[in-house]
């Protein structure tokens, strides 16, 4: 039997400190969040203002990451781009997490026909590669940032649904659910106050682990022109902008690419760390 994580904060922190990779992940993500918050303070340039007289300049003290074909400072655009990235990650995680957990808990808790129908729909979504499906949705809705967020949310909920269904199935069979039913609790109360909290820890691990995937998918859609549109400093769009200059002006695509790689790495390390921290076998 384990204690709720919130109450057992000290032990959680102890496990976190022991896990070097989790610390690295946390540092990257904290750094990423801080740059998003303080972007205007960290740079004296504007992300959208063009200055063709300084276009395609190599990295220098003035422009540490160089400038792009319109003379915009790339560091400045990456900093502002992190705001977009964080927006994308948070909204998609919330929306797809909500859809996935609701579908999973309803399917697992009610079982039978409800379970069959909901899980077959989930299987249908899983049958397509998620990037292709997201592309199809984004193309259908029309390419812009909001539609891209909707499209990714729609294809990203399936793993959460499967995990929370499995958990709900397991918890439904526990004696305390029957006990609370015998006390007159209705389905809604059981699902929300007794099943949902128990499914949260495995779902939370998946949510963090998939944040990296979300950033990659969003950047891919941006790169393909199906997501955020220029002149938005979205990282995928920036990589795409620089691809015709890749040979001679490598910095235009490379630095946003590194930013993507770094943040994805950070989320993956953090996700692994969270999984280890929440693993009951490692806890006491």
């Amino acid at each position: 039997m384990m204690k709720p994580y919130f109450e057992d904060w000290k032990h959680t922190m102890y496990l976190w400190r022991k896990n070097k990779l989790a610390i690295a992940g946390t540092i990257i993500i904290v750094f990423f969040i801080l740059t998003a918050i303080f972007a205007p303070l960290l740079t004296s340039y504007e992300p959208d203002v063009q200055n063709l007289s300084i276009k395609l300049q190599a990295p220098s003290w003035e422009h540490p990451f160089g400038t792009d074909q319109f003379g915009r400072d790339i560091l400045c655009r990456i900093l502002y781009g992190s705001r977009i990235a964080i927006q994308i990650v948070l909204i998609i995680t919330l929306v797809s997490g909500f859809i996935g957990v609701s579908v999973g808990i309803i399917a697992g808790y009610f079982g039978g026909v409800v379970d069959e129908i909901l899980m077959r729909i989930t299987d249908m979504f899983l049958a397509f590669p998620s990037l292709i499906l997201a592309m199809a949705f984004a193309a259908m809705l029309g390419p812009n940032l909001i539609n891209m967020i909707i499209a990714i949310s729609f294809v990203n909920w399936t793993p959460y649904a499967r995990i929370s269904r499995a958990e709900a199935l397991r918890i439904k069979g526990q004696p305390y659910i029957e006990s609370i039913r015998s006390m007159g609790a209705g389905h809604l109360r059981i699902m929300f106050s007794h099943v949902l909290p128990m499914t949260l820890s495995p779902v939370m691990v998946q949510l963090t682990l998939r944040m990296g995937t979300i950033i990659i998918t969003a950047a891919s859609l941006g790169f393909l022109g199906l997501g955020a549109q220029p002149p938005s400093p979205e990282w995928g769009v920036m990589v795409s902008d620089g691809r015709s200059y890749l040979i001679d002006q490598w910095w235009v695509s490379t630095f946003p690419g590194i930013a993507i790689a770094l943040v994805v790495l950070g989320f993956n390390l953090l996700g692994d760390g969270v999984r280890d921290m929440l693993d009951p076998r490692l806890r006491r």
Binding site: M1, S179, G186
Partner: protein, 326 residues
């Protein structure tokens, strides 16, 4: 239908479970009744349908089980015919239940006080926080140190403490009927006696009826006013505790009593031969006939009716069918 008890009347209750092996006929026309404030013990071997009966009374039978037929009249209302929302009003408020495994019957991530308060909040339609004081009072009532136990989690409790918490939870809404499904089976003997005494004294002062399910004849002898013996999904014999122990009529009941060790008894303990029949394909006629020492031809063909052979003493056995009053 005849109303024999003024609190609960169960008649012809049939429950089946659909499994891959076939249809398990778990309850085959169970009859029982209870008066207000009465303590009824249901005894029988493992798999005879004791627990299924208690769950069916609260309509807690889950897929793949199904209540096929029968009436569960609780205070003139038939629970079987009610809407789910109406049954939810009865569960917890009018009938509550405590279970065999007290520690796993409590939510492991919520503290004890919260769980008791939640039950009270549901009954009174108030916020959970407002019921914390009442929850603490209930814990004191079952002999626990409320200040300490309120904020404890189930894994920090001993088995006996957890069962006390369950009793507090079950009695907190002041139900008219408390169903206790083998409340002492998971506890060691010294704690068993304490818990039974607590349950007995509390229900006496609160005046609610108790249906206690057990396979322990000692428990029923101490605890109950009336006893129902069940066999393979049927009511076999029903009488007051005194009469049943003194003058068991059903061959199965007398077999059960012969198998119980007693201090001062010198004769050999006799086990009932054979095992509980497979309920997918139960024997024709009386379900006990293959193990019965007094089997007759009619037992293999016809199912005995549950009849009153002497005042307040009901038996389902062909040996007595000619003595039937009704």
């Amino acid at each position: 239908m005849q109303m024999r008890g003024d609190l609960l009347n169960v008649s012809d209750l049939r429950v089946v479970f659909y499994t891959y092996r076939g249809v398990i006929k778990a309850l085959n026309g169970v009859e029982l009744w209870m008066n207000k404030g009465e303590k009824l013990g249901i005894v029988g071997e493992t798999g005879c349908g004791k627990s299924v009966t208690s769950r069916a009374v609260m309509r807690l039978i889950e897929e793949p089980g199904k209540i096929l037929d029968g009436k569960v009249i609780f205070e003139n209302k038939d629970i079987i015919k009610m809407k789910e929302s109406q049954v939810q009003q009865i569960r917890g408020n009018e009938i509550s239940m405590i279970f065999q495994e007290p520690k796993s019957s409590l939510n492991p991530v919520l503290n004890v006080g919260f769980q008791i308060a939640e039950v009270l909040a549901k009954q009174n339609g108030t916020k959970i926080k407002k019921q914390m004081k009442a929850a603490a009072e209930m814990l004191e009532l079952v002999g626990l140190d409320a200040d300490r136990v309120m904020t404890m989690y189930p894994h920090e409790l001993s088995g006996g403490m957890a069962q006390r918490v369950m009793i507090a939870m079950g009695l907190a809404p002041k139900p008219k009927l408390l169903i206790a499904d083998e409340p002492t089976s998971a506890l060691d003997v010294t704690i068993q006696a304490q818990i039974l005494k607590l349950l007995h004294d509390l229900t006496d002062t609160m005046g609610n009826a108790v249906m206690i399910i057990t396979h322990d004849m000692g428990v029923v002898a101490e605890f109950c006013d009336k006893i129902l013996v069940m066999y393979a999904g049927n009511s076999a014999e029903y009488a007051s505790t005194e009469i049943l122990f003194k003058r068991p009529l059903h061959p199965y009941t007398s077999g059960l009593l012969k198998a119980v060790p007693q201090i001062g008894r010198t004769d050999e303990l006799k086990a009932i031969s054979g095992t509980v029949p497979d309920l997918v394909s139960p024997p024709e006629g009386c379900r006990f006939h293959k193990r019965c020492a007094k089997v007759m031809d009619i037992c293999k063909k016809e199912r005995p009716r549950f009849i009153e052979v002497e005042p307040e003493h009901f038996v389902a056995c062909h040996l007595y069918s000619d003595k039937g009053v009704n």
